[in-house]
């Protein structure tokens, strides 16, 4: 397989009018979403999918196309006429009777030469009995409509050690479906949050403050005056204000209004957009830059109090971050990303340099707080994303159904979602108990057996259970395709450790067209 090449490397190594290599061109669009680091994580992953159903191949299609390293389909069944009718990765009637895993792997493999596909025709039940290490060797395991006893064994196995792979469980019947991601802990640095880090106008660092005080606005050439960046205008206006107000920023509504008016009064011509920008960004002067509450919460994480040299680097970084915030100016490290603003090239570039230099200094200070050595590129990324870090803690599959109080809460807070979940739980329980028609009554009785006696079922329950009884074994192509898109997306988030995956059940209703988490 060709080594992953990141975009900067690809673009700086080319001659003036050359172009990136064919692999970078092929993956151009997705590299804009998860960059070379994400791509390399994807290319090092090996995914196990249990069953070659239409839903399973839909999920895999969306992982093979972006270039997952390897995938295995575990399925001992042969293609039935029914399978051949709803699965795009079987070749119609000519696939009937052949191994479903082999046919699906062959046709999925055509999507991407860089991906290795393995068809395993072993029996999942036998493997679960004899060779549990088989399952723990993958990066992530996905199971579609696996019978409850086997799913319970698999989920218990993968939950038994926190180094074992995450498990994605998927159930679907007709227009309804749900999936769940089982993992112990998932940390995210690159969450791709849309919140921008603070520019620290309220706590201007010395170089920024000195620079803004060194400028004499009133003596400036009119063109230069129109190009003072709003950051400088605000730092200066705030400093002047504080001098006249006991060192305090504007606090009351009236003070804020007065401050904004004073900023606009600095204009020498009515059309100076930089001062308009400063006025609209004035809130930055009285919004105190501190540690965002979501990040402060992470400092309470039990992992931090029991840190050892072998703890995951993320928690060493988090611990250093906490120490950093305990010192002046009691903020997260500065990032050098400066938004665009009305300014001349030189004034903007100068400001950018001030931010870069300060961010570099703070990063060096941050590094001295680290208890273990960590790669510079990892530290860079952590510091840059410090305002949007995430720590997710998951649950074992089946926890919800085994706990009356959780179920009662779920029914109260997400009735229609829980109605789908319970109907699908009942369906899988019932499928192993009986053959033939699945009735609404039998499903309802099964749901009742999960709930404490005399619990009320929500209004929406009849809609869900009726739909399940209508099409209990239908793996509809559209439902499969929707699940394929959603689940591949979650799997990519888990593997790349970018963006934020779900940590609960996601339920899907394609009658009224909605999704909802429990």
């Amino acid at each position: 397989m060709v080594e992953a090449q990141d975009i900067p490397t690809a673009t700086t190594s080319i001659v003036a009018d050359g172009q990136p290599d064919s692999k970078t061109r092929r993956y151009d669009r997705q590299l804009r979403l998860w960059a070379a680091t994400g791509q390399s994580a994807l290319e090092n992953a090996h995914i196990l999918v249990i069953s070659g159903s239409a839903t399973s191949t839909s999920i895999l299609k969306n992982l093979v196309l972006p270039g997952v390293g390897k995938f295995t389909i575990l399925d001992h069944a042969n293609v039935t006429p029914e399978d051949a009718g709803n699965n795009f990765f079987l070749e119609g009637s000519s696939s009937i009777g052949k191994s479903r895993a082999e046919e699906a792997v062959r046709l999925l493999g055509e999507l991407n030469d860089g991906v290795v596909g393995i068809a395993d025709t072993s029996n999942v039940e036998e493997l679960l009995e004899k060779d549990t290490s088989y399952f723990t060797s993958f990066t992530i395991v996905i199971a579609h409509n696996l019978e409850p006893k086997l799913l319970e064994t698999l989920a218990t196995l993968l939950w038994s050690d926190d180094s074992f792979p995450p498990l994605v469980t998927v159930r679907s019947a007709g227009f309804l479906a749900e999936f769940f991601v089982q993992f112990h802990e998932h940390t995210v640095v690159e969450s791709h949050s849309e919140t921008a880090p603070s520019l620290r106008i309220d706590k201007a660092f010395p170089a920024l403050l000195d620079y803004s005080l060194s400028l004499d606005f009133s003596a400036m050439d009119p063109t230069d005056h129109t190009h003072i960046p709003y950051v400088i205008i605000l730092v200066r206006a705030l400093e002047d204000w504080k001098k006249a107000h006991d060192g305090k920023a504007p606090q009351t509504y009236h003070e804020k209004k007065t401050f904004k008016a004073a900023v606009l009064d600095l204009k020498v011509k009515f059309d100076e957009e930089n001062f308009d920008e400063a006025e609209s960004q004035a809130y930055r002067c009285w919004t105190e830059t501190g540690v965002p509450s979501e990040i402060a919460t992470l400092f309470q994480d039990p992992r931090l109090s029991s840190l050892t040299p072998t703890s995951p680097p993320f928690f060493h970084l988090l611990s250093a971050l906490q120490k950093f915030t305990l010192e002046h100016p009691y903020t997260l490290p500065l990032t050098s990303t400066l938004p665009d603003m009305k300014a001349s090239t030189t004034s903007y570039i100068h400001l950018q340099k001030l931010y870069k230099a300060r961010a570099e200094e703070e990063k060096e200070r941050f590094k001295t707080l680290l208890a273990v050595p960590i790669d510079d590129s990892v530290v860079d990324s952590f510091v840059k994303n410090a305002h949007a870090l995430k720590v997710l803690r998951g649950r074992k599959w089946g926890t919800l159904d085994a706990d009356h109080s959780l179920l009662i809460n779920a029914l109260a807070s997400s009735p229609k979602q829980t109605a789908i979940h319970l109907s699908l739980s009942a369906l899988s329980a019932l499928t192993v108990k009986q053959s033939g028609d699945i009735s609404v009554e039998a499903l309802t009785a099964e749901v009742r057996s999960l709930l404490p006696p005399s619990s009320e079922l929500p209004e929406e329950f009849s809609d869900a259970v009726g739909e399940v009884a209508r099409a209990p074994t239908a793996d509809l192509p559209n439902t499969a395709a929707l699940l394929g898109g959603l689940i591949a997306q979650e799997v990519i988030k888990v593997i790349t450790k970018q963006y934020v995956p779900i940590s609960s059940y996601c339920t899907i209703d394609l009658v009224d067209t909605w999704t909802g988490v429990i």
Partner: protein, 442 residues
């Protein structure tokens, strides 16, 4: 059609479960069983617009759910950067028409399905062509093409003929976000009604690009908007041509170096000129003077909107379940979040509303200022509008003789040319209909 030769026993086992029985929310008018299957498999004719990221998915899903007479229109050829998601295409297909390759692939993989490709523009086809379909699904990345398709289907509606109402299902995607909606022309809100929901296209003021570049994006815009026409004259910039991108990259890099700006890369150059990156970090909300808006957005596609679109098409064609009313949005960056809602029809929608759009301007406004206002209005989104009243040509962008003849009007006040409450007709080559404005003065 000879479906009996390809429909093996059990082929529709999965689909038939929802066609043989109604569900709790199924319309009582649903004809379970053979009737609905016959309509779906032997009579329904469906049109897919676009054979790109969404289009490939749509075609595969429609074929598997049992639609057998599918038509597809796409004017593009296959590029290597399509292969990571447009799964009906292979490396050997690069350079071939998307519609043709997609149609052949589907017919080979799903026996008995007829897919008729058209390699060309939707505007090449007339009303009679569109009238033959039961349903239209759009999987496009162009606002302009969607507006045209939407306006065409709204205009097709003849109240005397229920068959003339063609449901339009529209899918859209960008990175981890996607949406699907159902439009019943003249009955529900249409594409035009929701134009103001679009992200405002990234626009860089020309003065920044020309005089005060700050970001690598500004240098790239300078290379493509100012430097290319200056050096290359009338030669058209082809953003799919790697040599052209290479030229821009070199020019932008040199300019960035001159201004001490870091960060011009090949990838960013391509992203900016093809508008692949939806927006840049910018607080520069105030955009004044002449600005250039980018016209196409080529995005990173996801597959779930296509699945949702096909599911709506299946439900509408079969009545097996209620269909979406009328808008479904899904965002997957932070968990899975979706929102289903009814988008309201706009009474003053220029396509389906019937009422003309009210516009209140200062009596001092010049024609040129009015044109600038129209270009920036988010709910209209036009470039280069021409204006006229029932009696006067106010300003016409083309042909050159008329442009020259009407140019002196640009500096005149609108109030000198249009009476209060007067009607102004706005036309533009990018606008598939005439927009009628009622002007009042303040």
């Amino acid at each position: 059609m000879g479906s009996q030769f390809t429909d093996w026993q059990g082929r529709y086992y999965h689909i038939d479960q929802v066609l043989d029985k109604p569900g709790p929310r199924t319309d009582p008018a649903f004809l379970a069983g053979d009737g609905v299957k016959d309509f779906l498999r032997n009579q329904a004719k469906i049109l897919v617009i676009g054979a790109g990221g969404l289009g490939c998915e749509i075609l595969a899903n429609l074929a598997l759910t049992g639609f057998k007479d599918i038509h597809v229109i796409d004017m593009d050829t296959i590029d290597i950067s399509n292969l990571n998601r447009q799964f009906l295409f292979r490396t050997k297909d690069v350079g071939k028409p998307k519609a043709t390759v997609a149609a052949e692939f589907i017919m080979k993989r799903v026996p008995g399905v007829k897919v008729t490709p058209y390699f060309g523009k939707i505007q090449d086809k007339d009303d009679d062509y569109y009238l033959q379909f039961n349903l239209v699904i759009c999987g496009l990345d162009s606002v302009e093409a969607r507006r045209w398709m939407n306006a065409t289907l709204v205009n097709l509606v003849d109240p005397e003929n229920p068959e003339s109402l063609k449901p339009l299902i529209d899918g859209g995607t960008e990175g981890f976000k996607g949406q699907a909606r159902v439009i019943l022309p003249t009955i529900t809100s249409c594409y035009e009604c929701s134009l103001d929901m679009l992200n405002k296209p990234t626009a860089f003021p020309i003065c920044t690009i020309a005089n005060t570049p700050r970001l690598p994006e500004h240098c790239i815009e300078w290379a493509s908007v100012l430097e290319w026409p200056r050096v290359k004259g009338d030669k058209k910039l082809d953003t799919d041509d790697p040599e052209h991108i290479g030229w821009l990259y070199t020019a932008a890099s040199a300019r960035a170096k001159e201004f001490n700006i870091e960060g011009v890369t090949w990838s960013l150059t391509q992203g900016v000129v093809k508008n692949i990156i939806p927006a840049i970090a910018s607080t520069n909300a105030i955009i004044s003077g002449k600005s250039r808006t980018l016209e196409t957005t080529e995005s990173v596609d996801n597959t779930h909107p296509a699945a949702a679109c096909c599911n709506e098409a299946f439900k509408i064609a079969t009545s097996s379940a209620a269909y979406l009313n009328n808008y479904f949005m899904l965002i997957g960056t932070d968990g899975v979040y979706s929102y289903t809602f009814e988008h309201e029809k706009r009474d003053d929608c220029p396509v389906c509303g019937g009422e003309s759009l009210e516009l209140s301007i200062s009596s001092e406004f010049t024609v040129e200022q009015l044109i600038e206002l129209l270009v920036e209005k988010q709910d209209i989104q036009i470039k280069k509008p021409s204006l006229s009243t029932p009696t006067t040509q106010i300003y016409l962008q083309a042909p050159p003789q008329l442009e020259e003849a009407t140019r002196p009007n640009l500096t005149k006040k609108v109030s000198e040319l249009v009476p209060p409450e007067g009607e102004v007709t706005v036309t533009a080559s990018t606008l598939p209909f005439n927009l009628s404005l009622r002007v009042t003065y303040t």
